[in-house]
Amino acid sequence: MLRLVPSLLSRLGLLLAVALLIVWSLGPVYWSFVTSITPPLDLFGDTSFWPKHPTLQHYAKLFGATSLSQGNAVQSVWPQFSAALVNSIVTAAGATLVTVVVAAAGAYAFVRMKFPGRDICFYLVVATLAIPAYTVMIPLYRLMISLRLIDTYVGIVLIYVSAFLPLALWLMRSVYQAMPISLEEAAWLDGAGRVYTLVFIVLPLAAPGLIASAILTFLNAWGQFMVPLVFSPTLATKPLTVLLPEFVTRNYVDYGLMNAAGIFAIVPPVLIVLFLNRYLVSGLMAGATK
């Protein structure tokens, strides 16, 4: 009976910590949601934790019901919004895929292979993390113009990769470094080639690192603003982050619409994290090491 008390206490502490984390993360998101279902005229009235007159009008605006107000046709924003949503998904997913593949291979070379300038090379690449976007923007713009990559998925993805590769590379390098080399040596003795060893022996073991890199890259690319602002002039590649500020029109800040769009924008990344994070668990690894 007495032994139960500390474990009960620790369980309680755990629950409290979970609750705290949930409130901290969800609180402002919840508030954004409340704003998104509050009628515009109520926004500057008395705020309350629960919306008094919940309305779906902002979502209706988003999903293409062209409404009439005072004889003015309110333009539907859905075509723009859906195009931008697709662009966000394509560019973020493309950047994630390329980054993870390049980082997985590159970091392996940086850890397990020897070549001149290896460490210098690695440190230089990681150091580029510190470069502010504004520093390189104008020369980069000139370069992208001459390569005719402005407003193309390829251009945006390449820039994202160059921006988020250092972090992924560093993470993958530390994952490989922590791995015992004995497994690989055993595989080589069995006659497996280096590429085979990397793909079928090392990568499965490095799954949590790969998934963490993928999540980081995807989220970073999803939230990017500065790069697409300059390099995605039209809806051909313009992502949500650049589209949303346009809802702040000069004489009308459409808070409700912005928040509705924001709430909707968190769905794809959350789905991806939910799906991916199954692999972020050590259980998978345990089977392989035995």
Binding site: L14, A17, L21, I22, W24, S25, L26, P28, V29, W31, F44, D46, T47, V102, G106, Y108, A109, F110, M113, F115, C121, L124, V125, T128, L129, A130, I131, P132, Y134, T135, V136, I138, L140, V161, S162, L167, L169, W170, L171, V175, A178, V195, I211, I215, L216, L219, G223, T241, L244, M258, A261, G262, A265, I266, P269, V273, R278, L280, V281, S282
Partner: protein, 285 residues
């Protein structure tokens, strides 16, 4: 050797072409007077840099950025570590908790800043409402009228958004610690605190260094939060806002480039300090 070249070549091409080349161009430009409003671009040596050092507005922006870095790095690391340890311990519903933890990152930055603007709003904001309700303040406060509070609140918005990255990095590091090590430590009679210090900390040192560095770098690059919450206010103006104002509003490009290069050097230097420190203190032979 050839295989290594194949593996590394994409990195060299992408980073060389899209980062190092433009960086070199900007660095060279920062020693000239590049100003589209003036006819030619004479070489000026360190004149751009010299002017930045003496400018009191620039100094104020450095102070603010350093405050952001301190707040952000401390809060993100402690919070992120806490969240990662929690996620590592949880058995049921971990995927949901992780998804909830990364949510703040998914809200587009503009929406994020606007949500917080609502919360901090002096007249209708949630913060005043809650604090009034709890009896902690007697009347509505205008939060951004006081510099220390303003800096802290801008940092808080930044931390809210960036903490998930730290948590994910540290969680990945925690996941790679073999469970046997903890059991061995337990057998040796180590309590939770001791086994955290002796087992967990050294083994996540690599991840910690990465997390600390990325927190630093992102905090050095803070722009959106301060810009949307307080505009060009001198109390909250960050170095990167100053870069934006100099290069894009005033169109003194080379001066802006020089400042952004100083910001880069600053964030590298700070990161280096604790990357080295983390590696040295946790090295165990």
């Amino acid at each position: 050797m050839a295989l290594a070249a194949v593996f590394v070549l994409p990195i060299l091409v992408i980073m060389g072409g899209l980062v190092f080349y433009p960086l070199a161009v900007s660095t060279v430009d920062s020693f000239y007077r590049v100003d589209p409003m003036r006819p030619d671009t004479p070489f000026v040596g360190f004149a751009n840099y010299a002017r930045l050092v003496t400018d009191s507005t620039v100094q104020a922006s450095w102070f603010n950025t350093l405050a952001y870095v301190v707040f952000a790095v401390v809060l993100e690391t402690l919070g992120g570590l806490g969240a990662a340890l929690l996620l590592d311990r949880i058995r049921h519903g971990r995927r949901w908790l992780l998804a909830i933890t990364v949510l703040p990152w998914c809200l587009p930055p503009v929406v994020n800043a606007i949500v917080w603007m609502w919360i901090f709003n002096p007249s209708y904001g949630l913060l005043n409402k809650v604090l009034l309700g709890l009896g902690l303040i007697a009347q509505n406060k205008v939060w951004f009228n006081d510099q220390a509070t303003a800096l802290f609140l801008v940092s808080l918005v930044h931390v809210w958004r960036m903490m998930p990255l730290t948590a994910v990095i540290l969680l990945a590091a925690l996941q790679s610690i073999p469970g046997e090590l903890y059991e061995a430590a337990k057998l040796d009679g180590a309590g939770p605190v001791k086994s955290f210090r002796l087992v967990t900390l050294p083994l996540i040192a690599g991840g910690l260094a990465i997390a600390l560095s990325q927190s630093t770098v992102f905090a050095f690059n803070l722009f959106d939060e301060a810009w949307i919450l307080a505009g060009s206010s001198i109390d909250t103006r960050s170095v990167i806002i100053q870069v934006y104002l100099t290069a894009f509003q005033s169109m003194r490009l080379s001066s802006g480039m020089a400042l952004s290069i100083l910001a880069m050097i600053g964030s590298l230097a700070v990161s280096l300090v604790y990357v080295l420190k983390v590696y040295r203190e946790t090295r165990y032979d």
